[in-house]
Amino acid sequence: MDFTLRIVMTGAALLGLISGALGTLAVLRRQGLIGDAVAHAALPGIVLAFLLSGSKAPVVLQLGAAVSGTLALLWVQAILRTTRIRFDAALGMALAVFFGLGVVLLSAAQHMAGAAQAGLDRFLFGQAATLLREDLLVMAAAGLLAFVLVLAFWKEIQLVLFDEAYAATLGLPVRRLQTLLIVLLVMAIVIGLQTVGVVLMSAVIVAPAAAARQWSSRYGRVLLLAGLFGLLSGALGAWISSLAPRLPTGPLIVLLLTALALLSVLVAPARGLLWQYIRRRRARETARQALMAVLQELARHHPDAEHPHPTATIQAALGTDVPVEAILRDLERRGQVRYMPDQGWQLTERPPHTP
């Protein structure tokens, strides 16, 4: 494996790990959409940081991204405080205005001398191939800092995510913890912008969490799994994009993550749709068998084995309050019972051992 590919794969894996785990905090607060707004709102900050400093060093541009992403969030909060506009509308507004401004600034900057080579437009959809060793060090340092913060305030963050009001009554500094969560989210996004871009970044925040939640109901495990899913998709996406020319890394990572989330929603034990379907089918099968036994018992004890029994009688004979009507209709569709109008239900075949 060549050196560049190793760098790109490591970078994409780091990004997936950090953004996946930190994004889970936002998703568990039902605030995944905030990630989308912050990511889009980062664009004008990136362009302005370049225009003001003349530098295209990732750290400088990331700082600009963090500042304008945070400004967008503060603006959303101000809108919520002073008007009756609702949260989702305010978020959408901030996203559109900041992103629009970013696109205008970007095309203006492209016409200026020297700016075209800065390759600022790579921040739209990301370009993993531009990752350098220094970028990895910055990502690793930021990831380590986030990791230490999440561990240090583990129980406080967990409580604020689950029940803010209760956390306040225990004397926790809820406002400061909320600020910490926002800082962590902004970090998660800024780290990924160079690789995935502002447009698709929110998928890296939301998809690992959605996938991980399917596999576990423990807070710590969900965080860990989301990080692992992100890491895996990042590394794999970077590798696949190296196989053919002009295969974009960022979109590949996002597609892999989405596939992983979809797969998890389908096949994860307990919560997976597939298992739910199988469990429902099994339960129906058991119910049908129990009811057939009851019907055969009734037929055996009646002088006329083909005598139809009304629904209420069968319900009483079953002895539980599980409604029999639906099960009887199910059996009717399978041709095992038939309904005689005004009389009741009758087996289509004489049960064995009837006199």
């Binding site: 039902r30 240090a152 129980k155 689950f162 956390a167 306040a168 009554t169 225990l170 004397g171 109901s217």
Partner: protein
């Protein structure tokens, strides 16, 4: 009479709309108090104001004679079930353990003592066997028991419960009531936002009738009268005849 909570001239407003208006009320120590009133009367807001979760526009609240300080953890809050996200990845035990978080210092994890306290609380509400169950798989009644267990694990002096009997099964209602009466025996103060007027006289010692303003506040026998109920609920509902004889 010793007062657990004293409320003076309390006014709370959301977007210039008064939710609570000039409320005066006092809640006695060591008794079971019901807060009763129609929807939108400000019952939940009153609890949240006592806990400092909502900021009053005016007025004074004293808890055991002093301004409320969350850090003392004297007041345990049981929010309405519907206010929480039950799809959050946590088990029954995890939630009960949260009650002890206030005592565990920064950077530390709950230890043996805290875990034992959470287990005892779950035992008390009849949820010990379901300790490891994800909270997403609980029935409404079981959710309510877990929230009460969390409050018990906090080992507070005053318990504020928002609609704990709302939509729970009969066995759960009996268990909750047993636990609250047990708390009362320990000298704790219990305040419950309550919907079911027919059980007020049976369950509670003291009642606060609230409809934005405080209509009446006192022992159930004196304050829970047809006249006061009519004033609380207006013409909007037929007031059932209370079983209490005000004589």
């Amino acid at each position: 009479m010793k007062w657990a909570i004293e409320i003076e001239d309390l006014t709370v407003a959301y977007q210039q709309q008064p939710v609570l208006w000039d409320v005066d009320a006092a809640i006695p120590t060591g008794q079971m108090t019901a807060i009763v009133g129609p929807n939108g009367a400000g019952k939940s807001t009153l609890l949240k104001a006592v806990l400092g979760i909502v900021r009053p526009a005016a007025g004074r609240i004293r808890v055991r004679g002093r301004p409320f300080r969350a850090r003392e953890r004297l007041v345990a809050y049981v929010p309405q079930r519907a206010e929480l996200d039950w799809d959050f990845p946590a088990t029954v035990f995890d939630v009960a353990l949260m009650g002890t978080y206030g005592r565990v210092g920064w950077l530390r994890r709950p230890g043996m003592a805290e875990r034992a306290r959470a287990r005892a609380a779950l035992e008390r509400v009849g949820m010990a066997e379901l300790s490891d169950r994800p909270i997403g798989q609980l029935s409404g009644g079981q959710q309510q028991r877990v929230l009460l267990a969390r409050a018990l694990a906090q080992e507070a002096e005053i318990y504020l419960l928002d609609e704990p009997f709302q939509g729970v099964d009969a066995p759960t209602e009996a268990t909750l009531l047993d636990v609250l009466r047990w708390l009362k025996q320990q000298g704790k103060t219990i305040v419950v936002v309550h919907h079911d007027l027919s059980t007020v006289a049976e369950y509670f010692d003291w009642v606060v009738l609230l409809n934005v303003q405080c209509i009446a506040c006192g022992p159930v026998a004196e304050a829970f009268t047809p006249e006061n109920l009519r004033r609380t609920y207006g013409g909007r509902m037929v007031v059932p005849a209370p079983t209490v004889n005000p004589a």
